[in-house]
Structures are given as C-alpha cells and as structure tokens.
C-alpha cells in the first residue's frame, strides 16, 4: 500500500516536469520569398483550351498569370496570337493589361490572375478533316531584381592585422532572388585608395537570365508584346544599381547588355572609399537590376469536322 502511494506521488511530481524531448515547438520559420528564378509565369489552365474542338463551336481558353517573383507588376501587357482564318474571339481584344502582385511574407505564393478568352472556331472549308490551330500568349512586364546580400569589408589591405571577424570571399547564389534575372555571384575586393587611411571596396557582380523568357530594356516592355521591332540595343539590357550600407555605389556600366550565353559581369565600386580605422566588418550590399521581360506560351487546338 505504501509503495502504491509513493508511486502515485512520484507520478504527480513527474507530470509537472518538461523535458526537451516533449517540448512543443511554438516558433515558425518565415517563408523564404526572396529566392526563385521566375517572374510572371503564364500557364494554360489544365484542359483549356481543349485539345480538340469541332468547327463552328465555342471553347474557352484560360491563362493563369502567376507572379512567382518578389516584385509587384502594376502595368503588365499581354498579347494573343492566333490564326484569324480559323478562330474568332468574341467581344475581346487580343491585347490587354494586367496587374499581379509579387510574393511577400504575407503572401508567400504570389498573386495569380486568371484571364478568360472565349474563342469560336470557324469553318474548316471543304474536304479538310482537321486543322491544328496555333495560339500563342505573350506576357510583357517590367521587373526588378532586388538582391540583399551580406559582404565582408576588410579595410586592412595589407592583411597584417590578426583576429578579424570575417574574410572577404566570393559568394554564389544559384537559387536566385525571386526574379528571372539573378545575381549569380559577388566577389568582394578591397583595393588601396589614393588617399591614405582609406580603402576602396570593389564588387564584381555576375548576373544571368535564369528565366525562360527574354530580357529587354525596362522602358520598352510594351513594344515587346507587339509586332514592332525594339532595336538591336534594346534586347538583354539591364539597368544596374547597388548600395553598400547607405552609400550608393558606382556601377560601370549602369546599363549593361547581358550576354545571351554565359555570365555577365558588372563592377560596382565606392570611389570615395572607406576609412581604414573601421577595421573588418560585415555590411549589407543591395544589388538592384531593372529590366523588362517577356514570357510566352504556345498551344495547339485541333479543329475537327463534326
């Protein structure tokens, strides 16, 4: 009896204990929204348009515009290309505008817009048993890549001081920054300055288009969705700016024409330099890329005789 009572008391006492093993995890990690290599991605909703339709019948094509990047698009443009000899859109234009918000910590999926197109098929003409009609949807929009990075600034150019908090070394970012054009790597160099007691930081930034579309100068994205030419200097053009802590860096060139194949390098520097007395420390480097982008998708609908 005594043993039973002692066991019950022990159980009551133990129940008040909390061990690490049974501890509840009340904390949640914030979603990583600043990664990814996509911007506004158009996608045909499954089953639309149908693979096969009869001549003289109507069908709907639904395009989902999902902003899978981090930047809001307030004035995007879409255009539709189809064979007018076989298809007709009732009461709609084949060009229009769209607004779609980007990913954020409050909306980690990004916003989606659904566009509906009501097509009517025309007569195939005699003898022809079927015809595969091609429909292309283009989405053109301005976009910005914002890459916040932490770099190591070591003003000890000679490298004689011991016990530093960090060492400048190349950093790579293969997962992107939530935009189709990504900062792939940053290499930090600290160079001697003309003035004594100062050092000049220099950053070699490598960028690349990791998306499936084409890059153009940001002010020309509207033309990209039309049939007009943009001019040879308009394609693959990206505006570059960068800040180190609160200081604006000088990037050369400020507008760069990206290479179609391989990486493109930009050098950003702080001409006035940093005082060497600040020693070695980590600082936020923000690289901003500004451009226009076009994403296209194509599908085929087979029109058949009834």
């Amino acid at each position: 009896m005594k043993k039973t009572i002692a066991l019950l008391v022990l159980l009551v006492l133990v129940s008040g204990c909390q061990t690490g093993l049974f501890q509840r995890k009340d904390t949640m990690q914030l979603p990583e929204v600043n990664i990814g290599t996509q911007g506004v991605e158009p996608l045909f909703i499954q089953g639309t348009p149908p693979r096969e339709v009869f001549e003289g019948s109507a069908f709907t094509m639904m395009v989902n515009l999902a902003n899978l990047g981090t930047r809001d698009v307030d004035d995007g443009i879409y255009s539709l290309s189809y064979e007018q000899q076989y298809l007709y859109i009732a009461g709609q234009k084949n060009q229009g505008r769209f607004v779609v918000r980007g990913k954020s910590i409050f909306n980690p999926q990004g916003e989606e817009r659904l566009l509906n197109f009501a097509f009517t098929t025309k007569s195939l003409g005699p003898q022809l048993q079927g015809y595969p009609v091609t429909i292309t949807f283009n989405a053109c929009y301005p976009y910005v890549t914002n890459a916040p990075l932490i770099v190591c600034i070591d003003t000890d150019v000679t490298g004689k001081k011991p016990g530093k908090v960090c060492t400048p070394q190349p950093q790579t970012f293969p997962r992107g920054q939530g935009a189709p054009v990504a900062v792939m790597s940053v290499e930090t160099k600290i160079l001697p300055h003309e003035m004594p007691n100062r050092a000049r930081p220099e950053f070699v930034i490598t960028i690349k288009n990791l998306g499936s579309g084409q890059v153009m100068a940001s002010q020309l994205y509207r033309e990209a969705c039309s049939g007009r030419p943009l001019g040879e200097d308009a394609w693959n053009v990206v505006g570059v700016s960068a800040t180190l802590s609160d200081s604006v860096l000088t990037c050369a060139p400020e507008t760069i024409k990206m290479k179609q194949q391989g990486d493109t390098r930009i050098v950003c520097t702080q001409p006035e330099g940093i005082e060497t007395r600040l020693g070695t420390y980590t600082a936020p480097l923000t690289v901003t890329l500004d451009y226009g982008y076009i994403s296209s998708i194509t599908t085929q609908v087979n029109i058949v005789k009834q």
């Binding site: 290309s81 007018q84 007569s123 003409g125 005699p126 003898q127 079927g130 292309t136 990209a224 998708i297």
Partner: protein, 501 residues
C-alpha cells in the same frame, strides 16, 4: 594441305542464308515500291541495283569465280521483280504469280549455295523441270476448258497444248504492248518529276493525316467472267469501283471499250452520282458475235471532276525583330511545336506541295518583297489529269501576288471561289488569286504530270499581316479543280467455235 585450304575458303552456309534474307527483303521492297509509282521508285531501283552488284562482287570473291556468271545471275535476279512489278496487274493466275515471287526471292540463295558446291547445272535442270511441271499444273484447268470448248476429247494430244500455247502467247504479246505503253507513260511521268526535283522546282507535302476517308475514285483491276471467250458467247468483263467524296457530289462517267472503238454501255449505268461514298460492281458486256475471233484489248475508263486543296502554315515576324532575335541567338519560335510546317493536302489523285522557305518569314515594309512561295501540282495516281479547270491561291490579307513569271493570274473575290468553299473564305482575311481562263487553256495544263509555280509575294499592309503579336501565324492555301481519268485494261482472247464431225 591444299585440300584443307580449299575447304577453308568455301563460304559458310550461314553467310549464304544471311545474304538470302537480305536479298529477299530487297525483293519485297522492290515490289512494294514499284507498285506505288512514286518519285522514290527510281531511287530504290538504283539502290537495289547497287546492292545486287555488291552481292555479285562478294559472290565472285567468295567463290573465286573469274567469269561473269555471278553478274549475270544477280543481274537477272534484280530484273525479275522489276519486270514482275510491271506485269503483275496483267498476270491473273495467282499460283503463277506466287511461284514467280518465291522463285525470284530465293533463287539467288540457291544459286549461291549450289554454285559453291559445283552442282549448279544439276540444280538448274531440276529447277527447270519443276517450273514446267508447276506451270502445267497451274494451267491444266485452262487447257481442259480449252479442249472442252473445242469439242476435243481429252487424251494424248500434243497439238492441243500447242494451240493453247499459241492462244496464250497472243494474249501475252498483247499484255506486253499494254505494259510497255503503261511503262512508257510512267517513265515519262517519273522523268518529268525527277527533272522538276533536280531543278529545285519541286515542292512537297503530306496528305491530311486527319483524313479518315480515301477521297476520290478507286477501280480494281478488270476481271473476265470466263477464262476463255467464244464468238457465240457474250464477253463480260467486270470490276469494282469505290468512290468517296465530302462536301460536293461526285459525277463519274464510266466507259467500256474494246480495241479503242467498240464501245458498250457499262452496267448498271454510265454516270454514277456519289454523294458521300459508294461501291459498285461494273459490268461491261459485249453481246455474242460483237467481238470477233482474236485478241482484244478491253479498257474501262472512269472520268470525274475532282478538287484537291492544300494549306501550309507560316510564322511571320517583323524583319528587324527577327534579325534582333537571331543576333541574340534566340529562337524566335521558342515553344512553338511545329517549327517547320509542311504543306498538307487533301486525299485524292493529286498532290499539291508547297514551300515558303525558312520559318519564320521576315516581314519588311509595305511595297517590299516577301520571300517567294513555291507550289507544285502533281499527278499522284496512275491516271491522267485530263484538264485543270481552276487553280486558286489564297494569301493572307496584307500580302499580294504581283505576277508569276510567265503565268497569267487575276485577283478575285471570295464569291468567285467554288461554292462549297465560300463559307470559309473571308475577303477581310485573305486575298484570292486565280489562274486566268487563257492560262488554263494552254496545252501544259492538259494531261498534266507536274507543274510548279514560283510565286513572288509583295507586302501591301504589314500591320494587317502581323497584327499585334510578335509572331503572326498565317495560312497559305491552294485549291485546284480538274478532270481526272482512270483507266484499267486487260487483254482477252475470243476463240472460234469449231464443230466436230
């Protein structure tokens, strides 16, 4: 020692069997291709010739034979299926046809095998006897019928066989002439196509794969109701005709004639009106005594008006923009499934092939030239395009046909296109051009084998062509209306009736 080395040099049976299998495959290929009557057939004949030559050289090497025998044997074997292909439709005895096929296929193998063993002469003797026996067996029924018709009692009668062979030989000679005529026409057609292809003036296409129907008129080979005909019996020749059409009824005029002059009305009727699809047995019956004793060439012809339509998809892009894409090394047709569209034509006796050059087509400013459009109209079947009655070219609005070198065309509106096509023709979307009646009256449009057009295009309104999209998908079409003639011939022999005492 010397004997051992001779044994080593003999070809192995496995090599000979392998060779035989390859030869058999080539033979079958020959036969299949020769019956298709296409441009490829000449190429295939050339390829098989090269293969046979190679086999002959191999055989000489393996057998250490310095004579020309291997070349002769293999040359003969190359020719057998070709000749057989040409004459196949005139040989009506199925067992004989089968024997020829099997013999042609395996003969080189036997030659190769027995040649290497020095037993070729024995083999050939047995082979010859077997053939004669086989033929005698196959034709014994004919011989008996012939004897019965002549009121000749069966028994030992060498003259009967002689007479029968004379009669059979006459038929064979008639077949030879008919086949030679058909071969000459086919050769001319193939030469014309080859010249067109060689001069780069030939544009290809594919038949509409969605077509479940075989449009047009198909006639089987003619068959005789009897093995032998006599002056006191009617002569009946029959065949089966199948016809399929959509959207427009088909009127088929059928004519039966013997030796190009003695016409009879076909049964059940002369004019067949087909709304969708029809299959009819047609009999041509010459009353008793109409066809006199001798060999006659029977011909059944079917003439009908038909239309073939063809289209080719094209991707059109602003010239400067396309240049920009190319300089950036960007594929302007990224994501488009069919980057090099081919012309698709409706099924029937004529092929309309087309080509628009490299895609996408660069579009310049108004008044500038667009890359030319190539069109080939080609007779696909073994009949004749008697007359082309109408050819229409449909180009997207914003483009125009200026003038085709040496060809007279005129712009027409959609109300001038064939009635059944008007619904799908919109003057706001297409410009229509037709060959003028004067142009179509020229002799080149009669009995046409192949005709190519190189059509220069000019940009009249680039915005209309391109619309508001980076790449415009447009459609070029051709419609050809024509009268087509299909002929089937067969020789028959009418024998005299002799009354025995």
């Amino acid at each position: 020692m010397a004997e051992a080395s001779t044994k080593e040099e003999k070809p192995s049976p496995i090599a000979a069997i392998g060779l035989g299998v390859i030869i058999f495959a080539f033979h079958i290929f020959d036969l299949l291709v020769l019956r298709r009557n296409t441009l490829v057939s000449f190429t295939i004949i050339g390829v098989t010739f090269a293969a046979y030559l190679l086999f002959a050289i191999m055989a000489r090497g393996l057998l250490h034979d310095k004579s020309r025998n291997a070349f002769i044997w293999f040359g003969a074997m190359w020719l057998v299926p070709i000749v057989m292909g040409l004459f196949a439709k005139y040989v009506q005895n199925v067992p004989v046809l089968g024997m020829i096929t099997i013999a042609a296929a395996y003969f080189p193998l036997f030659i190769f095998y027995f040649y290497s063993r020095g037993a070729l002469t024995t083999f050939l003797t047995i082979y010859f006897i077997a053939w004669v026996a086989g033929l005698a067996f196959c034709y014994s029924a004919d011989l008996q019928q012939y004897a019965s018709s002549q009121n000749i009692k069966l028994g030992f009668n060498p003259m009967l066989t002689y007479e029968y062979l004379v009669s059979w030989g006459k038929n064979a000679i008639m077949s030879l002439f008919t086949a030679a005529g058909a071969t000459w026409t086919m050769t001319q057609s193939e030469i014309a196509k080859t010249i067109s292809a060689a001069s780069g003036d030939y544009y290809s296409g594919e038949v509409d794969s969605a077509a479940k129907m075989r449009l047009g008129v198909y006639i089987d080979n003619l068959k005789a109701s009897e093995r032998m005909f006599y002056e006191n019996t009617p002569v009946t020749i029959y065949t089966t005709m199948r016809a399929e059409t959509i959207d427009k009824p088909l009127d088929i005029n059928v004519v039966c004639e013997a030796d190009g002059q003695t016409r009879v009305k076909p049964r059940p009727k002369e004019v067949f009106n087909v709304i969708t699809s029809d299959q009819s047995d047609i009999d041509c019956i010459w009353g008793k005594g109409v066809l006199k004793k001798g060999t006659h060439n029977i011909k059944l012809s079917a003439e009908f008006e038909f239309t073939t339509r063809s289209y080719i998809k094209s991707y059109i892009m602003n010239r400067d923009r396309l240049r920009e894409y190319r300089r950036q090394n960007v594929d302007p047709l990224q994501g488009i499934p069919d980057k090099n569209p081919t012309a698709i034509y409706t099924s029937g006796p004529v092929r309309i092939g087309m080509n628009l050059g490299q895609q996408p087509i660069p579009l310049g400013n108004g008044g500038e030239a667009l890359q030319s459009w190539g069109v080939t109209i080609e007779n696909l079947w073994d009949g004749k395009i008697e007359e082309i009655t109408n050819v229409m070219f449909f180009v997207p609005k914003g483009l125009k046909i200026t003038n085709i070198e040496g060809v007279s065309v005129q712009e027409v509106r959609c109300d001038a296109v064939p009635e059944e096509e008007r619904e799908s023709c919109d003057d706001n979307l297409v410009s229509v051009y037709a060959l003028t009646p004067e142009e179509l009256a020229l002799p080149i449009y009669k009995n046409l084998v192949t005709k190519s057009f190189r059509i220069p295009l000019e940009i009249s309104d680039p915005e209309k062509v391109l619309g508001k999209a980076p790449v415009a998908v447009q459609n070029f079409k051709v419609t050809a209306q024509y009268r087509y003639l299909i002929e089937r011939t067969t020789p028959i022999t009418v024998s005299e009736v002799t009354v025995s005492a």
